[in-house]
């Protein structure tokens, strides 16, 4: 019986380590790439000396440095505001001490890294924590004031936005579905659509100034192929599915880089200039 208890305790401990043993993580997870998320680094979980790193030891022996921990990150890209120099961190990378040796930084990942959702989910986040002067306390001989390298996998959240794409990454010859939630529509002229009211302006963008719309805004509702079908059982939900390479007439030699879209209803035109274009990048080549 004692043996069984020992084995059970060991299994329980293993499970606990798996659940709570991450030194770097993001919340919320799964993550909506377009929303804010908070990146946490728990230096309590850090292991000194795995990569000449001694930040945990330095923070424990020099509590006066506890509020000078910076994020240093290089994947999915360098941060848009810049890491700064190793010996002179950029202020935008200063982390907040939550409590003890737990640090956080709140970011909007796509803006923070200047990448697409695909690049974020595909690569994850590579980072470490460091003191402003990464070589501080080096004379103590136990390593640099940095953590080991962390790799954080980013799990995409189910889309709950006004527009959702399925799949979240697509090639030009994939089936691509656009789902529109009219109940979240901010434009009062487009709210409360009936089952036959929902149309979409679609254009294939092949360059900075080159795009190929199926129809101009004023003619969209005359094109049945641009009508979204209501989703059975989902109030205000509409969907259209296309294969971009077959749907758009793009001259040979040009490549569709993104899809431009916005919703239209019969009898309604956006006043003045066209609305701010929404883009879905076709960056899976």
């Amino acid at each position: 019986m004692k043996m069984i208890k020992i084995v059970f305790a060991f299994l329980l401990a293993s499970g606990s380590i798996n659940a709570f043993g991450q030194a770097a993580f993001v919340l919320p997870s799964p993550t909506n790439a377009n929303d804010s998320m908070t990146l946490y680094i728990d230096m309590n979980q850090s292991v000194n000396g795995t990569n000449n790193n001694a930040l945990k030891a330095h923070l424990q022996s020099h509590p006066e440095a506890a509020d000078s921990v910076y994020l240093w990150t290089w994947m999915p890209a360098g941060p848009a505001c810049g890491n700064g120099e190793w010996n002179n961190s950029n202020n935008c990378m200063l982390m907040t001490r939550v409590q003890g040796l737990l640090y956080s930084i709140k970011i909007k990942p796509l803006d923070f890294y200047g990448v697409s959702a695909l690049q974020l989910f595909q690569n994850g986040i590579f980072c470490l924590a460091k003191l402003k002067d990464g070589k501080e306390y080096e004379t103590e001989g136990i390593g640099e004031s940095k953590s080991e390298d962390f790799i954080i996998d980013i799990v995409p959240a189910l889309c709950e936005a006004v527009y959702c794409f399925f799949p979240e990454a697509a090639k030009i010859d994939d089936f691509l579905s656009i789902t529109y939630d009219n109940t979240q529509e901010a434009n009062v002229d487009l709210q409360n659509m009936g089952p036959n009211d929902c149309y979409i302006y679609l254009s294939a963008k092949t360059g900075p100034f080159t795009s190929y719309p199926i129809a101009p805004q004023a003619e969209v509702t005359s094109h049945p192929e641009l009508q979204l079908k209501p989703l059975p059982g989902i109030d205000g939900g509409f969907r259209i599915t296309i294969i971009p390479s077959e749907f758009f007439s793009v001259p040979e030699g040009e490549t569709i880089l993104s899809i431009v879209y916005y919703i239209i209803r019969p009898g309604y035109l956006y006043p003045g200039a066209p609305p701010n274009f929404l883009h879905f990048p076709l960056d899976c080549e």
Partner: protein, 163 residues
């Protein structure tokens, strides 16, 4: 106490091994190996087409059969010839991911897990199960990936053996 249980376990395992080794040798032939190709050969008619996003937290699937199966129009057919190992695709509705024709094979003749289509491109399609001559259904999965290997979509083709 621990040593007591450990000793018992060792004695038990030893006993099992000893008893097992006393079994008589198997005699006789196990028969000819299964002919994978004759099981897969023939005409297969598409009955369902599903798209899955492998990056979706719940691995959401959507049934897009309506793009392939329309009343009054012959559904897509895949014809696998086991004599010359050619294949043809007859399709009037829906996107043809397989190419019109080419040759075919499998990754492992003893235990195939992938159907290989050598058409305009070479496609490796996951076989969901072994296909025997009496099998009436065949499911193929086409994993789509970006040029850097990132898997972004899975297409699931479900066929029935055409009559």
């Amino acid at each position: 106490m621990i040593n007591k249980y450990f000793t018992k376990i060792i004695v038990f395992i030893s006993a099992v091994v000893l008893i097992n080794s006393c079994k008589p040798n198997i005699e006789g032939e196990i028969g000819a190996s299964r002919d994978v190709f004759s099981g897969m050969a023939g005409e297969w008619e598409l009955t369902q087409f599903i798209q899955q996003d492998p990056n979706n937290p719940i691995l959401e699937e959507r049934d897009l059969s309506e793009f392939y199966i329309v009343d009054g129009i012959e559904p897509m057919k895949l014809n696998l010839n086991a004599t010359d190992f050619t294949y043809t695709v007859d399709i009037t509705q829906g996107r043809n991911f397989f190419g019109n024709e080419g040759t075919w094979g499998v990754d492992n003749v003893d235990a195939p897990s992938h159907l290989l289509l050598y058409g305009t491109d070479t496609l490796s399609l996951n076989l969901s199960s072994m296909i025997f001559p009496y099998s009436t259904n065949m499911s193929l999965e086409y994993n789509r990936a970006c040029s850097d290997g990132f898997k972004h979509a899975i297409y699931k083709f479900k066929f029935k053996r055409a009559e």
